[in-house]
């Protein structure tokens, strides 16, 4: 039989005592705490673990003790149920009631060296309860020593060790019981085996390790008040405990010793080696031996006014990533531009009475302005209507032609008799031949997503004039995807396994290839486009989907003559592409086929991040119907660009569709930004400003600080990993977690109290503030990809330049003691929730405008009441609560109850907002689990 344990594990006390008492042969094997994961069983895994002869595992200390003592029991002995019951009771009490409190106490007092663990009072009450039992019996197990005593001795012994700092005069029975046991060899020997004469500190490492993984002892079992399932001999302490511990302080996460050591090491290192960012100079070109990151965002079609969905799907996402890469000191180039060729522009030109070129110029400017407002930092934002585009596209074309990847064929196309033009796919609508969706466009069906050729549409109609187009034949060129399929497949396999592909990109690509690739038409009978140079086709242009991705290359060519160093250099360049999911096939199938076929060592896609759809409120963005926020609308709201950036990234539809909601938008601003992030930074800096003359104080790190730094490091690691893998939304949450920890850190240390105390207390407060201020600096760097202006703002308040803008792997004290900061002021402003209704109405589309107007008037009255009368709200809530309770006891219809509950929750949310609290944190307490009937 083998017992696996880490050294100094307090549970060893009782197990060794049981073993010695039973005289059972048992070898103890000491392992590292992390190795516990090799043992598998339901529940939180922890050490020690007993492995019996037959390979069975016992993993709770009490069951191990029971087993060992049972082995010793002779087989003739029939256990007396009464005696067993007494023993069982104490064993149960120990594990269910005593252990949770005792463990927390030991972790905080021995593990973290905190003087007051906050649990002492509860502990004393529990012990007094046990003490009483010993007044009538010599041992807990009855008249003789038994399992209960072994278990309780193991549990309580640490309290009796010298330097434990625990003493209470009123548990005399326990004290003498303990003394009695210690006089026995069995217990004495077991104790010294575990402590190895290190005294109380022997348990430190193990306690810290265990608490990192243990279900937070003070949170879950206690937070649920009025839990009706019984917990054994339990004084009503259970309920009191909930109130006593403040939510923040009790949830201190604990890191392992290794993590803490590493944290301190890098902290000390960092203060000597402060980072300096490298500024890249135009033209940015790949550097041998470095990470060269080429980032593209899908080229927005010039004719469409971008809405929030487009922005988050493409340019904004790529921007965050690009900024992050630069902070990581990667050699980064971010390219984008407008996609300008195609019939849409031609048509629009006619409508507005301008030339296509003029249209493009006009709208290009519009795009640029919007993106500038959103602070998208392209290295170059170009357009597809350039000479370089024609050159490169034709060059690729000729290469494809020479290598026999093109096929000629006659196409039937729809020509609108009225307009006398061949209708581009965009200008034909009809019934989808696959799914019968009535609004399928001529190139792709919105409903089922399948690509179609316009002539396949059933009942086609010309979008411009409404007439029924006729089918005409015309010669066209096709890119033979079928021939390229094997090369494509092996490239897909390689790229998707080596790079980071978002799941939807994988699925879409796989589905496409599985269906089998057919030759794709790459020419069109149009005027406005890149001309086809081949004899017999010179009156045609390239189909926009063939032509547009080549735009990436030509736009880069416009940026630098040495564009080929980026685009024909797959060995040294990593290409990251951002887009919405409907663009995926073109980037993972069609375009790679084009480049593979052209065979000129092109840099192909390495990683792809494709977003799902962003919906608007309960609807879809629609310019024609006026639904949603477009172009300049965002700027017009008066809400700063950074807040917009924040929210769009917060709801970035990474794994599934998400929706833009005004209420949510404003709520997040008020809660996450204002109350969490902004609050932390402001608090820390205000304190330094007011109490330390604006100078960063000296920092002498205690165990708790080291733990905190380690915690931040952990989160930082996650942040880096998330962003490297383009999980932008997760990365943002990591930053918010860090500021949350920051808040907890300040809250639990209570510097406002310390600063009024003695010298050592003041200096303690100084350390805390110093660390907090440095965290603020770290946050300013980490938030930079998301909210560049906020980042600048923080740094201005900290009186540092952006020179230090480097995302290091560890948290370091960039701000040294003595560094003078500026005047702190709040980073964010509260936005009134009523604005949400206004704005929703404004951008809600034509039909909604009327309804909104109606709602407006009623809302206005409601709002006023809500705003001014918190008390009234509270009355409402109480009334509603009564209603709900009544319905529940009457066992009313589920729907009715649900509806009333919803109303209640809504009222509560309003109250919360009115009080300035986070409306979402209301209902976690007091959620009762219904009693099983």
């Amino acid at each position: 039989m083998k017992l696996y344990s880490d050294r100094g594990n307090p549970h060893l006390l009782r197990i060794l005592a049981a073993k010695n008492l039973a005289g059972v042969p048992l070898t103890v094997q000491y392992i590292k705490y992390e190795d516990k994961s090799k043992f598998h069983y339901p529940g939180n895994s922890k050490l020690p673990v007993l492995e019996t002869e037959g390979g069975n595992l016992l993993h709770t200390p009490n069951s191990i003790c029971r087993y060992l003592l049972e082995l010793n029991r002779s087989s003739n002995e029939v256990p007396d149920p009464n005696k067993e019951a007494i023993i069982d009771q104490w064993v149960e009490w120990e594990s269910v009631s005593l252990q949770p409190v005792l463990f927390s106490h030991l972790v905080l007092s021995i593990g973290l060296g905190r003087g007051d663990s906050g649990h002492v009072e509860d502990l004393i009450n529990l012990l007094r309860h046990a003490d009483e039992a010993l007044s009538s019996h010599k041992f807990f197990s009855g008249d003789q020593l038994g399992l209960a005593d072994v278990v309780l001795w193991g549990s309580l012994h640490p309290l009796f060790i010298k330097d434990s700092g625990f003493s209470d005069p009123q548990i005399s029975n326990i004290t003498s019981w303990h003394d009695q046991l210690m006089s026995q060899d069995v217990f004495c020997k077991s104790a010294s085996e575990v402590t190895e004469s290190k005294g109380i500190s022997a348990f430190k490492d193990s306690l810290l390790a265990m608490s990192g993984t243990q279900a937070p002892p003070s949170s879950k079992p206690q937070e649920t008040k009025a839990k009706q399932s019984p917990k054994g001999p339990q004084p009503s302490q259970q309920e009191n405990r909930n109130g006593a511990l403040s939510e923040e302080a009790s949830q201190t996460k604990v890191c392992s010793k290794e993590e803490m050591d590493e944290a301190v090491k890098s902290w000390n290192n960092g203060s000597k080696n402060r980072p300096k960012t490298r500024r890249l100079v135009d033209p940015i070109l790949p550097i041998a031996g470095e990470k060269n990151i080429l980032i593209t965002s899908a080229l927005p079609y010039v004719n469409n006014v971008p809405h929030l969905g487009n922005i988050i799907g493409c340019v904004l996402s790529a921007d965050v990533f690009a900024r992050f890469c630069r902070l990581r000191q990667y050699n980064t180039l971010y390219i984008c531009g407008t996609d300008e060729y195609g019939t849409a522009t031609e048509t629009k030109a006619l409508e507005e009475g301008l030339t296509p070129q003029q249209i493009c110029d006009k709208y290009f400017k519009l795009h640029k302005e919007v993106y500038d407002w959103f602070k998208i930092k392209f290295d170059y934002f170009g357009r597809t209507t350039t000479q370089e585009q024609t050159e490169i596209a034709q060059d690729i074309f000729w290469r494809l032609h020479k290598k026999d990847h093109l096929v000629e064929d006659t196409l039937e196309q729809l020509q609108c008799v009225e307009c006398k033009r061949f209708l581009a796919d965009r200008f034909v609508e009809g019934f989808c031949p696959f799914c019968n969706y009535e609004d399928a466009r001529g190139d792709q069906c919105d409903a089922c997503g399948k690509l179609i050729n316009a002539i396949e549409l059933k009942k086609p109609r010309c979008k411009v004039c409404g007439g029924t187009p006729k089918v005409r034949s015309s010669k066209h060129l096709f890119l033979n995807l079928t021939k390229l399929e094997p090369s494509l497949q092996s490239w897909v396999d390689k790229s998707s396994s080596e790079g980071t592909w978002s799941a939807n990109a994988r699925h879409i690509t796989r589905a496409w290839v599985q269906e089998g690739l057919r030759p794709r038409c790459i020419t069109r009978d149009l005027k406005w486009g890149t001309p086809v140079p081949l004899e017999g086709y010179t009156d045609k242009v390239f189909y926009v989907w063939f032509d547009a991705p080549i735009g990436y290359l030509s736009i880069t060519a416009n940026y630098t003559k040495e564009w080929e160093k980026w685009w024909k250099n797959p060995q040294q360049v990593s290409l990251y592409q951002f887009m919405a999911k409907d663009n995926v096939p073109f980037h993972t199938v069609v375009f790679p086929c084009t480049l593979i076929g052209a065979d000129d060592n092109y840099s192909l896609l390495n990683s792809i991040s494709a977003t799902e759809y962003l919906n608007y409120e309960e609807d879809k963005f629609s310019k024609s119907r006026g639904v949603g926020v477009f172009g300049n609308d965002a700027a017009e709201t008066g809400i700063p660009a950074d807040i917009w950036r924040f929210y769009l990234l917060y709801v970035r539809p990474e794994n599934q569709d998400s929706a833009f909601s005004w209420t949510d938008f404003i709520t997040r601003n008020n809660s996450e930004l204002l109350n969490n992030f902004g609050n932390f930074v402001n608090r820390a800096l205000m304190f330094v400003h007011n109490n330390y003359g604006g100078a960063i104080p000296a920092m002498e790190l205690t165990e708790e600080d080291k733990n905190f730094i380690a915690l931040i490091n952990k989160e930082l690691k996650t942040y880096i990993d998330d962003l490297e893998k383009m999980r932008l939304r997760e990365g943002l949450k990591d930053v918010l977690n860090m500021s949350k920890y920051g808040n907890q850190y300040i809250q639990s240390n209570k510097p406002w109290v310390l600063v009024k105390g003695n010298e050592s207390e003041r200096s303690r407060a100084g350390t805390v503030l110093g660390v907090a201020s440095n965290l603020s600096w770290l946050l300013s760097v980490l938030i930079h990809p998301y909210m560049p202006s906020v980042s600048e703002d923080i740094q201005r308040q900290l009186q540092v330049t952006d020179e230090g803008n480097v995302v290091l792997d560890n948290f370091i004290p960039y701000l040294q003691p003595g560094h003078k900061i500026g005047t702190p002021k709040p980073l964010f402003e509260k936005i009134d929730l009523s604005l949400a209704d206004e704005l929703r109405a404004k951008y809600g589309g034509n039909k909604q405008k009327q309804q909104a107007a109606d709602d407006q008037s009623t809302n206005a009255t409601n709002e006023n009441t809500a705003d001014t009368d918190v008390a009234t709200l509270q009355v409402e809530i109480t009334k509603q609560g009564e209603k709900v309770r009544k319905l529940k006891t009457e066992k009313a219809e589920k729907e009715t109850v649900d509806a009333e509950v919803a109303t209640l929750l809504a009222l509560k949310k309003t109250l919360a907002v009115a009080e300035g609290k986070n409306p979402n944190e209301q209902d976690t307490k007091g959620k009762k689990k219904g009693k099983k009937k």
Binding site: H40, Y41, P42, G43, N44, T52, G54, N56, L58, H59, T60, N62, S63, I64, R66, Y67, E70, L71, R73, P79, P81, N82, E84, A85, I86, D88, Q89, E92, W93, S95, V96, A215, K220, P221, T224, A226, K227, Q228, S229, P230, K231, G232, P233, Q234, S236, Q238, E239, K927, K929, G930, K931, K932, K933
Partner: protein, 181 residues
């Protein structure tokens, strides 16, 4: 002399008592005047002492019943104990938190892929008590979820059909035909 049991609203103990079919001369049920929800079941032994604690009371009932519910070896007894501890300390807290319970169900499902009973090869107190504890959760699972937790469902179904276990609890239905895979 019979021991006196005060159930105090603990339905698991109530059901267990019926299942164990303990003769009247060994146990007598009396209810306290007031319903003290946090107190849990208690047992006044023939020696006069009173013990409390749901695990303790359950073990006592098992010992004096005809059924062999505590395993047939020292190891099995310890394993039953271990499950009861898991129930009281971890499962109870998970049951109140929707996010954690799913993880616990998955853990159990994995464990039950190679076991028919929680302890060794016979029905034990561990199976019974965990059945009672998980009953409300299982009742609420969708067909798809039950299918994903195929081993847990199999175990649960088997226990609920064991004569005397289910008592008046509603039956949780399981489909044999997999609809989703």
């Amino acid at each position: 002399m019979a021991a006196v049991l005060c159930v105090n609203g603990c339905t698991e103990i109530e059901n267990l008592l019926s299942f164990c079919e303990i003769p009247r001369d060994r146990i007598r049920v009396e209810e306290a005047e007031e319903f003290l929800s946090h107190k849990g079941p208690s047992l006044t032994l023939s020696s006069g002492q009173t013990v409390t604690g749901v695990q303790t009371v359950a073990a006592y009932l098992s010992t004096i019943s005809k059924q062999k519910l505590l395993g047939s070896s020292a190891l099995e007894r310890a394993q039953v104990d271990q499950w009861l501890e898991y129930w009281q300390i971890q499962l109870e807290s998970y049951l109140n938190d929707g996010t954690l319970i799913k993880g616990a169900l998955r853990d159990l499902d994995k464990f039950l892929s190679r076991m028919v009973y929680l302890v060794s090869n016979q029905l034990s107190l561990a199976d019974i008590m965990l059945y009672y504890a998980l009953h409300p959760v299982m009742l609420e699972l969708s067909i798809q979820e039950k299918e994903q937790l195929v081993n847990l469902s199999r175990w649960f179904n088997q226990v609920q059909y064991y004569p005397g276990v289910r008592q008046y609890l509603p039956e949780v239905s399981f489909l044999r035909n997999m609809l989703y895979s």
